[in-house]
Symmetry: D2
Subunit: 361 residues, 4 copies
């Protein structure tokens, strides 16, 4: 399903080369004034074509709000935003149905929908469907910001080139400010050149490259979340895995914690004035599924774009035999920079739901 | 919330030292004959006290089925299983409320529930609450087995000691048979000695150690799952993070995929007779959220048991000051071996829901 | 919330005088060819302005499908249909916020949304929002028709003028054919004149009139539904009460059953060839929440349109005092004829969900 | 499904003659002190055997709370209550599977569950399963009472004998007090004799009789509920139809509103001091799905108990032929008096969810 959420539900629709894509957001609090420019900014961070890491295919992702807003203020009714597709169905992808692209959902989508799914540009599986998520997330971010909750992500790695990580106990507001407007979001900006070189090399080789995104939520009060199946980790992961290419997620020390001893992993509590804090933050701001008041921190792993120019082996489903495939057209050699605002947005929708569950939004 | 699922819902209840714990399973197909001995076997794999990696505290986890079964056959009505607690509230944990244990949910639970939550033995946050998950999962496993779907997990690592991984394109049935009855489940059994030594050393040092569990689902037909928010990754992760101590999850190549090039990560399709398969399985049996017919493979990271004997710094919430804490009582120095059947069980509940969504169960 | 459903979810959006209204339908089976003319026909049955019972305000309810359809065949991805509003915000309703209209949601909406809801034309509370329900229901009807399930409703009464009721054990296919294309759907067409006279008299008196709609679902196989909270009555009622003006619903003999003896109300079973049927159908095709194979029959009570031309007492929320109100503009003196396809549509969405739950769709 | 609710979920389990029945309540606020005697009182109002209107079969419905309570105060964890069945499976109902009882779920349950459902005493379809609903509702009532919300119902009619109705604009607290402890709840107690005579006559004739229950919710603040599918009517009806024998529900003037003119049905607003009220209450406290601050009022129609002593025609599913059936054993000739606390309880669970949705609980 392409719907998600309880208290605040999003319902994403659209196919890459159909008439339009968009999202309905149901359950928004009324009376929140939205900064539309701020939303467009986030959408433009996700939009393709800004540099060589991204596909040069142009999208004008100007969302039209059909409902739920009056004078840019939420009415409490479902907010529907539509983005028209200007780049509609063409012959570019004509051979996909017969020869599924390795790493793509062509084959699984074909089986799941009995061959009736729209395959142009990936259809409903396309990364383009993350644009509505960014819209919804940008709305939620603005609502959360009113409660002092901020969300920022950065490119933690591309291939083997790493950015430094967030200091998990101290994420300065200025850093968040900077990351939130960046199209190549890095903590240590000196990593950019190396990362771009890595991507450029892949592009030249008709190849692509994966990476990781690290995301932090600051200002989340202690006591948000629930044990077991409505824990923060479960809620965030269930929406983040809705983003194409995400194949892993970890919170706090994550997979590193699996190598640690309890005495290393445990974060000791202390009083910082009247506030209980921890000196380290291996728990990623979450204990027993519930926020501790420390920053919530997670990292998502994104596989390399499966669309590559190199010839690949596949099958021909029509002829029932093995086949060779060359994918033409222009594709992002690395989608990690553009995934940054998408992951922030997914986190925002998740946190809005979590806040609502405990009557804090 | 402690409820999970759509087509097949589980509702877990209980507190560690309360009268009883259990689960209601709603939405089970009628007419499935359950092998109760098989269920007890899985529950005993999770039960503590079998060896030095586990707490010697004895639990008699014999579930009593109150409803939903007639002659061991599902009636279609909700199945409720209750496990009585013989080890009920005691004074052992008297200081927790004042001094939250680092790494535990004591502090966050206290804030979330305004101090009203049952803290004895961890209350509803206790690892003991995984027993009902194993019950529910064991029921689902048997139902799935009738469709040729099998689930097996093993200890992929404890600290820095690793088992070998599943061969992701070929998981022999005999291996699954063996793992499914093992209390220290390993593919390469020669790793056991080293792992036990690692755990024993931690125990001697009043410390604990984390690890990872790898889980495979075989026999899942292609075409199960959905794009976006009902993808297999999202569904499995949302229940697996309901297991205490899980801090990360990855599917297929997972975080390694983030370092790969598209030409490495893409799994090429080929015809194996009439069946479309992939030669490698970096996609972990999932493309676009939907099963490809290859084994579904994921790994979960478990942090070390936070209950350790060493003295730790914490706060005294009553006195409003920093404090020292020594945890007495007996605790697992490593919960990874016991987590194996829990993760298999969570996967089984998830897969049962996924199968139902596409009318295959 | 304006979302409904489990296996097949609808998410309705829009405000009466906003840019557009519409619906996202998520979970549709792929590969169903839709007859768009058939959908437009149902929408035109609901559209206003066809005669004196309806408001002369013109709406061009031509839905534009943005996604989920390829060559008029469902792709399995969410189907979004948008209806543009040509009649957008005007000054017609300027005094509503200060003086809530009796019988309308002006007052309650104002409290619920802190005064931020769009009040023009009733905003999200407007009867116009039933157009997307008719769209969604028309899609579902076509899918159900492929399984031999048909849905038909008629005006059971307007004020004190009654149509005859369905013969609950025998609803001829020809009657359904006729009702399904009628804009003033009656079993006994001789009632039309009297009903129209009743409505016309109300219109002349600047008043309005209520009525009831009776709806039948035929061809639903026995064994659909569930005990307790997913019973057919509960599922249908939870969506039917989403239609403005509905204040009551009854299944089978309904409120009459409350006056009956068991020996009268019980429907005896008999074999009609190989099929188990009942000789009477006081149970309305539902026993224990589950279909018996007999027609499912329910009646909904609709209150009179609250917008009337007569002067009424109300309050002035701004001046904090009692006030007089005269509603100008054109309003349906009776919405019952137009409610017929809306109720059929809500039933269709409900039945599609019920069928999916038992793997029959 | 036998689960219901969003913010506060109940999961009911059990079969009439199985080991036990009960309910898990998930999502309760922590820190609410429950008056257990008050809960038992409500359960005893529902319990059978108190007089000739009820079955003399004895049930000891003493619920055992397994979790979620500490010192009778909610911990925030799921609360599970179990009622042991002392009257377990017997031969009394041996012929049901072959010959389904008219008016019962025997036939539909048999089809739905392929003959695997437990038929003893009606299994999961039994009216006995309303005991857990009363438990859950009694918990919710106490929580609502802390917010000034009270719920009371009465026998509005048995057969053709009527009680007077609530004055919908003024429901005195003393009346609620009296109704809430009554086992034959009437506003006008002089109706009791006639009602009992009606029931006794049915009993003597080996017959049964239906009736209606009217329920009022007072103290619900204005602004609770939502337009469309989370309106108060839809939410209440979806749980009330989960009570066996309910075949109709109406809010406010309900089916009478269908005969009214707008000028009659519209409830005019006025200021009562600072409070906006309506002089009449045909809207039953609900406009646009949202509470107006006036009492919420609804009536439910209950069909007569289908178990009657008279010989009835049915079919023999085994022999595939028509058959005669005589039901022995003791059955309520009228379940309406016992349904009163059940309907109050269902309303309480519904209202608790509605209050939570708007952050008021």
């Amino acid at each position: 399903m392409s719907s998600w959420g309880d208290s605040l539900k999003i319902s994403v629709f659209g196919e890459s080369h159909g008439k339009g894509i968009g999202v309905v957001i149901d359950g928004l609090p009324a009376g929140v004034r939205l900064d539309m420019e701020g939303i467009y900014l986030q959408m433009s961070r996700r939009a393709p074509g800004k540099d060589k890491t991204a596909t040069p295919r142009l999208e004008k992702d100007i969302p039209q709000v059909l409902s739920g807003l009056l004078d840019n203020t939420t009415t409490g009714a479902p907010l529907c935003a539509v983005i028209e597709n200007t780049n509609t169905r063409s012959g570019d992808y004509g051979n996909i149905m017969s020869c599924p692209r390795p790493g793509h959902a062509d084959y699984t989508g074909n089986i799941r929908y009995g061959g009736f799914n729209d395959i142009s540009g990936g259809g409903h599986f396309s990364g383009r469907l993350t644009a509505p998520i960014v819209f919804a997330g940008s709305v939620c971010r603005q609502i959360l910001a009113e409660k002092g909750i901020r969300i920022a992500a950065h490119i933690a790695s591309i291939g083997n080139v790493n950015d430094i990580r967030f200091d998990p106990v101290d994420i300065p507001s200025e850093l968040i400010d900077r990351l939130n407007v960046s199209t190549f979001a890095l903590i240590d900006q000196s990593a950019e050149e190396k990362m771009r070189a890595e991507v450029e090399q892949c592009r030249m080789n008709l190849d692509s490259i994966g990476g990781t995104v690290e995301c932090a939520v600051t200002g989340l009060p202690a006591g948000v979340g629930s044990p077991m199946f409505y824990g923060i980790e479960g809620v965030i992961s269930s929406i983040v895995f809705g983003i194409p290419a995400v194949k892993g997620i970890e919170f706090g020390a994550g997979f590193d914690a699996a190598k640690m001893k309890g005495s290393q992993d445990n974060d000791e509590f202390y009083y910082d004035g009247d506030t209980v804090r921890t000196r380290t933050n291996n728990h990623g701001g979450i204990l027993g599924g519930i926020s501790s008041g420390m920053p919530v921190i997670f990292r998502a792993a994104l596989k390399p774009t499966p669309s590559i120019g190199k010839q690949q082996n596949t099958v021909d489903l029509v002829k029932h035999q093995d086949a060779k495939l060359e994918i033409h057209g222009r594709h992002d050699p690395c989608i990690v920079p553009r995934a940054v605002p998408v992951i922030e947005s997914a986190a925002a929708v998740a946190v809005a739901n979590l806040m609502m569950q405990v009557n804090k939004l």
